[in-house]
Symmetry: D2
Subunit: 351 residues, 4 copies
């Protein structure tokens, strides 16, 4: 079978990781990446002779408005225009800054190419608001998909997991949000917790993906960079009680949920970041969310637990799932996510 | 009526504020404070010629093991021994480091004096685990009381408030905890969120004070110093629905809950800290907890909201309430808390 | 003698403290303050019935573009227009946002009123770039003065102090800058140190005030809110050696330099912030800079030391000095600064 | 030529990176690593089937006091005792916790093995206090060497670089120190800058390595985790002036100094951390120090500049140099450091 040809628009925090993720899939070909300026991310790639993950060469295409001479001056090779890139691919992963994706869509439509957008775009840009585990089949054959954002992606992994095992009708979440990524200087927070108006968009987004669940939540920004923590209170359908053991059993079986404990040394979000670096993972990333077993407590019939969201990398697997669905590479959730997991080495070391 | 004579053991973060709180009560006399060493807090008092809040002179007594010559060398006047202080008072407020209070209790008992302990001591040190609004009457005439800790004190203000207005049977909380006080160097956290094992002690403590409520919760430490934020999900008794308006009406009527909004400029915990400084409050403190009106959301029949806990000062009013109860100055919750509020200028500017 | 009439434009972080500083001067009258919107700072004043420092009532005037109805709706009393305020005063303290001061100057000129601008304005707005200790006499009788910024003000205190005692010809500074004030949400930095291009403007400004000194420096932003720390390497004229004792003697004699040690408990910038709160200072402010005695080290003939700059309040005394100079209240540096110090209780507790 | 056999004691933050560094050297063999407990670092290695850098298998030996059953329970394979490891090697890299190295030395001596200690040990543990660039020849053939600490290692790279090019007689440094590593929870600092008593040990250590240079300095801890920043003021011998161009030329030629600019996007320490991750470097590490070209300023005849120290990895190259010197693999600084640089891919992308 010939490989599915994929392009990536925008080589920022997410775009770099999408390119890496595609480069890891043996049934996909990374045709190229596209960006506007010789950012540090692009320069790091050039310092490596344009070799990215898995030994794959990343051809760099320039979007409209890019100044080719600024790349030439730094000796960074370029491969053509954005339109040329789109012309060569079967599907685009669009991780351009928020709002640009909607504009890019015009080109994708003109050239008859499918595309998958990240969480920064409006839902209206896509036909399907997609999550690999929660609604894979909705994405099968679709032309334009939008991924859930990082928190929503991780959150839904757990809620969908409980829902399939037990049946969930309501969740209330508290998002303890990291305010910036490592290396961000354009935004920050110093010695402050910052409130967002409730309900958080993540709760609203969850209801779009899982319409049979009622969700609400409060989001508080915190001055850290290594991963969000979300507490979830989940209520089962029909007044059913969820025990800690029931929840644990479900979570432990999920390939993209890494259950951890404080006693092992996973004392917080930074422990998981450090662990991913010590694993030797590229960029120090982790695809799994962390779930603290010792945070799980029963509240009447409800269950409460806390998860860690590695914001830079968590959406990569579900985006790869989306390619599989859109391109009909696999027709079912189980087959699609299993193939993604295989190539990303996800879930290999489950307890 | 003669004033109730009060002493304060331990002149640290809490002890200083207890002394100030007593000095503000026109029906109490601050007999003195006691400490071990010429800490910066003691030196600041000495720099002000031992004059504290409300123009009151704070006489300094030395606890066992103190080296009087170290005070003399700095020209800090002392007034006698700890035992002499205890001998002069009607009741002691004990804010000594955790564990010392239990030892001090032997002296209080020997001299036949009442005492109120802070949250750092074990519950067994006291006859009554006390909260001014939730169980004032239990403290009336009691000899040894222990106050709830800062988070529990603020949390119970809101849960008791809803309980009296509506009837509450269950709460699930997420505590986004400040890890240190301003000026702390002996503990800290840098770019990390840190998990505690669930359930948090605050949930357990709430159940001790309000045994008809089932409570659980998860606590996460965050690298900030200006106040905890807690999200609360409260469930009414008998399946009753709590609307946002019902909750708002109850909260707005509570003297020790300051309802605020993001749009006014109260963007987070640091806004409330700044506001207290701009009010000109002594030490930049605030006795009220903040409650964000725009955080209140309905979750099915339940209500969810977020509060701010000014950890350095929040327990002061309830500790003053405890004096009133223990000394039978006022026999009811309404009378006792009203008198405390009057002298601490609490609730004057309710909307 | 009649009091000098002073107005304050802009009631933000600096403006509030300028108003307080003026209110403390028994030979000055605070005619009023001016602002644009009912900010939290204005609301805090209103919550106190418009009573500020020293029991003084602060009349609030509205600048052009203010919506009086927004104040009325909150029950905040206003006293008239900005032009009316300027018409009543002898001199304006302008702490409006950067750039607005230059525009306000047109009004001051039209009404024939003197003014003192803060560090955010360009030097060209003023006739004299002023520092109370370094060039007081240049400000005597001047119409338009501009104060040095917070870091430069504190830095010059020490360099001028050494220069008068020993003679200084060169300084090299490293500014470890706090990135935001407590309560700031519009700017921040999370887990990062941020470089500015060298030389820092503070070094350049020092040379403007002290043209016989060659200065350069590097500034690094850090994610803290409670005071800058500056290290200074100072070289004496004519190859003279500066010993630690010589430096210490000079620093200890300066009223606006508080010499401290780590052993006393002053472990960093936050210790000084906490100490100011514990002193009961309004808003938890400190007018003195801190200077660590145990940071002073000899480097060949040069001397190196570290100081703490309380950014919110450090420029207040020198601004009051500027009023005294501009209005010819005192004609010399010694008389002018002594009067300011007296009313602000500065230097009372020197070792 | 047969490979030099190397062991690593202590598999913590430094030990992991030492093992990786050795594994990259084609003329060395990593015989094994040793540790006490199944820490997260050990578990991460086990999750990768004990495969570390460069595809090398890391055999794990257990130090005295280790509980083998705790490793067995987790399925972590072990290879023998610490003494067995030491028996097999030519030289040990000791990165055990501070103080343990001195105890380990007894074993090394008994078995007649050389060893290299990290900065946490006392100087007396070693015959030579070593820096690859500053005193390589002193280490040639030595039995026991101690590496400079992270800050000192990076600092000396630059001072030695200027010294060889121009001649340096005096430096004054300000160390803006990161307080913890990513993932540290046992130490931290929250919203505070913390002073150390001057002079900093790094200045003292520099004088031990470069006795012809007079050095002093002040160290301030800051609440960040991604690299120290040091400002250096360097004075040339004999009153010679150092221009910016002279300094730049020297720095740009040094393989272990990466000169960067703010305009490129290197806005601070976190930019360099992010860049190393984006390079795909193992663990997101960088061996080079960063030096900001736009921080370099002239101060009279002196030169001032700022550098970034990646604390987790900066000492690895100089430690590898130390193996080369101690084992007489290369007899000169130029040959020894060049071989280390080659295998660690250092300096490949110099401008």
């Amino acid at each position: 079978m010939s490989k599915i040809k994929v392009g990536v628009a925008g080589y920022g925090t997410i775009g770099q990781r999408l390119a890496d993720g595609v480069a890891m899939q043996e049934d996909m070909e990374l045709v190229g990446i596209a960006d506007l300026a010789p950012t540090l991310s692009v320069r790091a790639l050039a310092e490596n002779d344009m070799i990215g993950a898995n030994g794959v060469k990343y051809d760099l295409y320039l979007v409209d408005g890019a100044d080719k001479s600024s790349f030439d001056a730094l000796g960074i090779p370029t491969a053509g225009t954005f339109e040329e890139l789109v012309g060569k691919v079967d599907i685009m992963l669009d991780s351009a800054p928020g709002g640009i994706g909607a504009k890019n869509k015009e080109l994708y439509q003109r050239l008859g190419k499918k595309a998958i957008f990240q969480g920064g775009e409006k839902n209206s840009v896509a036909d399907v608001f997609f999550h690999g585990y929660a609604n894979y089949e909705k994405g099968v054959g679709a032309d334009y998909l939008k991924l859930t954002s990082c928190n929503t992606t991780g959150l839904i992994r757990t809620v969908d997991c409980l829902d399939r095992a037990i049946g969930i009708e309501k969740v209330a979440i508290t998002i303890i949000r990291r305010v910036a990524d490592p290396g961000d200087y354009h935004r920050g927070l110093t010695n402050a917790l910052q409130m967002d108006k409730a309900p958080s968009h993540q709760a609203v987004d969850l209801m779009t993906i899982m319409p049979h669940v009622e969700a609400t939540g409060i989001l508080v920004h915190t001055p850290v960079t290594h991963g969000h923590i979300i507490t979830v209170l989940a209520t089962a359908k029909d007044g059913k009680k969820i025990t800690k053991d029931m929840a644990l059993e479900a979570f432990r079986a999920h390939p993209r949920i890494r259950t951890v404990t404080i006693d092992e040394g996973f004392r917080g979000n930074a422990s998981l970041f450090k662990y991913a670096r010590d694993l030797g993972n590229r960029r120090g990333d982790m695809y799994e969310i962390g779930l603290w077993e010792d945070s799980i407590v029963e509240s009447g019939n409800d269950i409460m637990y806390a998860i860690n969201i590695p914001q830079e990398s968590v959406t990569i697997p579900e985006t790869i799932d989306a390619i599989r669905a859109a391109m009909k590479m696999q027709l079912t959730r189980d087959e699609g996510t299993a193939m993604t997991n295989k190539y990303l080495n996800i879930g290999k070391f489950k307890k």
